[in-house]
Amino acid sequence: MKQLIKRELNALWHDPWQLALVSYIPLVGIFGLWWLFSAGLPRQLPVAIVDQDQSQISRMLVRQLTANAAIIPIHYQDINSAKASMEKAETYAMVVLPFQLNRDLLTGHQPSIDIRYNSQYLLVGKLLSSQLQLSLADGLKRKALIKQLAAGVPMAQAEVNLNLVKTQISALYNANSNYVVFLLPPLLIALGQLLAMLVFANSLNRELRLNTMQEWFSLGTRRVLWAKILVYTPLIVLQGRLILTLLYQYLGLPLAGQFGQLLLAQIVMLLAVWLMVLAIFFLLQDSARVVSFCTALFAPAFPFMGITFPTQDMPKLAQWWRELMPSSHYIDTHVGLVSYGQSFATFTHQVMSYWGYLLLIPVIVFLARRVKRATHDVAAETRCNEAS
């Protein structure tokens, strides 16, 4: 066995791309994705303001918007230029403070303030819509308070009248709705799964590329496979450990569960990935096609995790496809451990959900035998040809 592991390490050492995949590419990838989202909280997003009233109250409302960290108001003279700036994605929303806003308020009419937000950029649009409404409503409340005071209502009562029903909202497990907490873990897991798939596929493909399938089979099919698993599983788990270190130790994101269980869950996920790659490898037996096919399967793993779009709202077919992806099984454990601090019993229950991958084992054995026979035939033929 020692020799077989040495053989794998030797192969790894002589393949610069494979070496890159287990060394600096994960580092660059993990750091790059984190850097992309490092702002964490959306703030200072440009909003077009068209102030047609230019009154005391309209200016008060604009000041109110300026005070909101998520918003930078940018003034436009007319609606058309504000609209054009939205179409160019220079601003993500626009607020129109209508002509005679102040006068309508004083004379007892009901003016309306128009807000348009860019829902093509859904994340930003929805966020700005709620922030704009919050800020404006807050400003208007102050105006209403003065009105009540003028009507002779005592201060304490006037405040209660305005906020009869107060609300207290708690975002559980991510108190300030930080996108680093929300998006980064699933993104890095998706990246990790891709790297794992590529590394293992490359290690198998190398035997094809260098024409060493014959050697593999004569050394013992299973023993070489175990050597590959023994070499690459720890290397990939090390990447997983790096991701966890970045998230929960360096960035200090809250972690309710235990580190060890997360690593254990990663090992189970990797074994499932290995089984899928093996089945595809023995089925296709061509390095470019193996990589292409694996890529097609694993590339869209992220949207199917159910973090950005909830699983239960996916169509049935998407939910089935989701079950095929090892990362979707893992992410449930990940969220459960990180946020809910789930028990070991739940953890084992989740590990059981991988049972479907075991069905791949007989398929792999069958396909591997077929490949082995074919390799033997080819080898025998070449020997015959050489002899004759």
Partner: protein
């Protein structure tokens, strides 16, 4: 070798090479179904919540009924403590909860302020926002209902009361994607990225399999080979692009506002630039299994620096600059503005020129790359 026969030879090796054919024809079809698949129901509805009713009054029960009637919420149980509610959230049986305090109705009628507490599982932002938005509107309505009745009882007219409760109307309307659907949000950008990536992979595998070997590609000059190859890929991808931008956008209900002529005009440099970049990219490889791997790893970053998921203002500027070199980035930005947000041609023309500029840069790189590969072989 004539230009025409060179093109035919290229086309033949694309179609007969299983790895390339699967990526191009299979990939383009497969992804047109797979990427939009999770989002087909557009918006999350009927999120399960639990209620902790400390009041048990007619008003609190009405509040619960209203919550249950909200399209965003589904009340699945009533519990007694917040701890229990958190356990439900942790086990996935519910995604949020509402706490109605003791003496809720009594305090409201006596004009004392009350506080409703909401909690939601913020591991899933879309679920969280649905829960909070649903509960907020239910809570605001309950407060208004009490105020309305109170003011009426004190002798104000119904019209006056309505006005007093809401002196200014805030009319907030989504623009460009009126249903707030997830498919129209994700699909137009992602499909363009799929076109870009599969083209680069296809050209990459084709080149990597040929450099250093004998074949028709050595019977032509570098310039001719590049032009023929770009022409072949551009031809194939014109059909794919029509399928994606024409049919798929229609099929998935993406809002389309662009003028057909302008959209076609915009996509011409995209296809050409990506094809030229593909030929240049292929010169980096001699192993057929590598191009796919490199592109797979940079797909996610390319998608994010396109700026429609996470705003460009928040992405560190070195990454944004780097993204400018990728044809897909300016295409996605330009196409979203032109076709989805109805921007005018002059306001997106700089993306168009940028694509032509990138095309010429990649052409120079492709020329030196292909010449090097052909001479070396």
């Amino acid at each position: 070798m004539s230009f025409w026969s060179l093109m035919m030879a290229d086309l033949k090796s694309i179609v007969t090479d299983k790895a390339i054919a699967i990526t191009l024809f299979g990939g383009v079809l497969f992804y047109s179904v797979l990427y939009p698949l999770p989002y087909l129901n557009e918006v999350p509805t009927k999120q399960q919540i639990v209620v902790i009713d400390g009041d048990h009054s007619s008003l609190s029960r009405q509040l619960i009924r209203h919550a249950d009637a909200s399209p965003k919420l589904d009340v699945v149980g009533q519990l007694t403590t917040i701890d229990q509610a958190q356990q439900w959230v942790a086990s996935g049986k519910a995604h949020g909860f509402m706490v109605i305090p003791e003496n809720f109705r009594r305090d409201l009628i006596r004009q004392k302020g009350v506080t409703l507490a909401y909690g939601g599982d913020a591991n899933y932002f879309l679920i969280y926002s649905a829960v909070v938005e649903g509960l907020m509107s239910v809570g605001i309505d309950a407060g208004k209902y009490v105020q309305f009745n109170g003011l009426l009882a004190r002798g104000s007219s119904a019209k006056q009361v309505k006005h007093d409760l809401e002196p200014i109307k805030l009319n907030s309307v989504p623009a460009f994607n009126p249903s707030l659907g997830y498919t129209p949000y994700v699909v137009p950008g992602v499909l363009l990225l799929v076109l870009h990536q599969t083209l680069l992979i296809g050209a990459g595998i084709l080149g990597a399999g040929q450099w250093g070997r004998e074949g028709y590609w050595q019977q032509a000059s570098a310039l001719k080979l590049i032009l023929a190859r770009v022409a072949v890929f551009a031809l194939i991808y014109s059909f794919f692009t029509c399928f994606y931008v024409g049919f798929c956008n229609y099929w998935y209900g993406v809002s389309v506002q662009g003028d057909l002529g302008q959209v076609v005009l915009f996509l011409v440099p995209f296809i050409l630039c990506t094809a030229v970049a593909g030929v240049a990219f292929s010169c980096l490889f001699t192993r057929r299994d590598l191009p796919t791997q490199v592109l797979l790893l940079i797909s996610m970053p390319i998608l994010f620096v396109s700026g429609f998921i996470w705003p460009l203002e928040l992405i560190p500027s070195p990454l944004v600059w780097l993204g400018q070199l990728v044809p897909a980035v300016s295409t996605i930005q330009g196409m979203l503005q032109l076709n989805q947000m109805g921007a005018s041609w002059p306001s997106v023309v700089h993306f168009w020129w940028q694509l032509w500029g990138l095309a010429s840069v990649y052409f120079v790189l492709a020329y030196f790359g292909v010449r090097y590969r052909l001479n070396k072989g």
